[in-house]
Structures are given as structure tokens and as C-alpha cells.
Subunit: 217 residues, 2 copies
Amino acid sequence: MKEPCPAPPEFDDDFRAKLGDLIRWRRDVRRFKADAVDPALVRHLLALASCSPSVGHSQPWRFVLVESAERRAAVRASFKRANADALQSYSGEQKHLYARLKLEGLEQAPVQLAVFVDESTLVGSGLGRRTMPETLHYSVVAAIQTLWLAARACGLGIGWISILEPDVINSVLDVPPEWQLIAYLCVGWPEEEHLDHELERAGWESNIDRSKTILVR
Amino acid sequence: MKEPCPAPPEFDDDFRAKLGDLIRWRRDVRRFKADAVDPALVRHLLALASCSPSVGHSQPWRFVLVESAERRAAVRASFKRANADALQSYSGEQKHLYARLKLEGLEQAPVQLAVFVDESTLVGSGLGRRTMPETLHYSVVAAIQTLWLAARACGLGIGWISILEPDVINSVLDVPPEWQLIAYLCVGWPEEEHLDHELERAGWESNIDRSKTILVR
């Protein structure tokens, strides 16, 4: 027998205002407390993330919870190499500023999550990917942003690390070569909640004039 | 004088439950009512989307509100060509099923929004993009998912169209060649609110076993 259709939820002004707060107060977190995160909460958040849109309903997200100390150390070593290389690409005052930035929380974050796209998936039968195949990867990013917001609503912080060697991460985590790294996420309770952007605080970059990002045609 | 720091918002169980509903009830909408959408609401939603994370705080999202009837017709023509080509890639029963799918709401949607990444942006000074340059594109996807959820909380539906010729869209919308199309979004009031996935309804694809998308290492 078919389940009866549930009634659509109603969202009111209070909810929308809080959702706006949630969106504005989400931060890329690099400083975590040592406190553990309940594994059931992590699974709950991953289930919510899996309700995100995906091209052709392909659901290509693959989540790898990185728990082994050895693997975590190898990820940290990859960050250090990639970051040392990045530092050399800057010069002068910018190089000094870059060297002072805290760009990851790999030593403190109690939960570490590598997120991949499965490029070999047959789910969705290729629908929507013929002229824009990159939408498979984009689907995984949508899931990450859903996860990020849902985590923040629980008080959890997430930090996205992209200063890594993707091939090394595949190898360290022993995942299929058809899985491509989209993000490596540090998850945990943030040392501090704040509204201003981390890189604005550090003097690296400011908010741009938003009116310049919208055109009418 | 520096503004005093506002107190962090508090999110309670009620809010988290509603947020879960929002995430589960977001749909890719292809059937819209004719009713107009207040332009101020669209601007408000774009401002919220612009609070999304971006690599190195690069904020590379560029939003183009497509209002001209001629340009809209040219976008629709691009969809028709790309979709006819996609249809030919299927055969047998799947081809018949594909032909029956409604994959866009380009004729009905009152608001149409092309979303690009500005690959030429210097904002963020390249931070975080050295080993994973694709994170610039991913930043725009995060903004789209924020927009999608915030729109849904207002009762607005969004449909993401990827069955298009990206170069043609750049030309039709007269945007710089350094802007790469990430998504073309139809926005409007949905004919119906529903919990089940559009492509599951149509028999194209089902939810996958979520436990198979999570590994521990």
C-alpha cells in the first residue's frame, strides 16, 4: 500500500529570519575544541546532506570518515607540502601575511571527512550531464553546503581544506581511482562563534561590492 | 569606531527540525505558476546566497537575471537542441521514458537566473586554489544551494537546467568569455509542493542505499 502523502511544512517569518542568521553566521572554522562529536549526529547530518540536489538524481557523493591516526597524519603531511609550495607562490608582504594564516584545523578537529565524487556511477543514466559533465561534481558540492548549514545549526563548525594533493589523498584513504576528491572537511565544536569572515579578520581579503556581481540582461 | 560584536544566534530543536524539513522538501521544480516574484525578494535571496563560503574568500559568483524575451527564447532554443541530442544517446524503453520527462520550466518560470563563475577574478589572490583550482567553480555551487534553500523557505521553487550549450549561453547573454556557466536556474512559485523526487516519480531513478555512500578509514 502506498504511504499517504504528508502535508508540506509551513515556513514562517521567524524561521526565515533564523535561516538568514544561520547562513550569515556559517564560518570556515580552523580552531576547534577537543570535545568529541556524537557519531550518531554525524550520521544524521550525512543523511540530511544526502537529500541535496544531484544531476539526474545521480547522488554521486561518497563520504569517507577518516579515523585512523596514521591516515590523518598522512593527510596533514600532504597539507604541509601543498602549503609550503603555495607559500612560495607569494612574495613580499603578502608572503608574510600568508605565512601567518591558519588555514586548517587538522590537528584539533575530532571528525575528519573526505568527500569524493564517484565519476564511475551509472546512477541517473547520465541525465543532464551530456553538455555539462561537471555537474556531477557540482552535485557533491551542493551536499557539502547542505551539510555545512545543518552542522552549524547544531553548533558544529566545518572547515574546508583544499590545500592538499588530491591523488595523495586517494591513495592514503585507499579509495577507487574513479573517486575524485571534492573536499576534505574538518568538523568539530568551534573555539569561537563569530560573524566576520576569517580571511577578512586576517587582512587577506574583504567582502566585495555585491551589486557588482548582479547583471540584468 | 568599530561596531560592537553582535551576540551569536541560538538555534533550538524546533529550528533544526524545520531546517530538516526544508532540506527534505527542496525540489528541482519544472512546473511553475504564472504569478510574478517580487524583485526585492530576488535581490534579498541573492544577498543571502552571497554569504556562502568561497575559496580564499574569492566570492566568484556572478548572477545574470535574464529578462529579455529574445534572450529567453534563445536559451530555450539551446535547451531544445541539447535535449534533442541527449535523447539520441538513449535507446529502447529508456529513450521513450526520456522523451516523456519534463526537464525544464523555461516557458513558465517568471524569474530566470544564469549563474557564472568569474575565472578571471583576482579576489582572494589564489588562496586555496593551487592544487585544486576547481574550488573556484565549487564556490559558486555552494551559493546556488544556499539560494535554493532560502528560496524554498519563502515557498519559491528553483529548477536547475544543465541541458544547455554553455558557450551559446555566454554569447546569448553577452557576458565575458572568462565567465563560465555553472547553472541556469528557473525560479518561481511551484504548481505543487511534494516530498518525493521528480525523477523517482517519473520512474527514471530511485534513491540509492545511503549506507553505501559512507566509508570509514
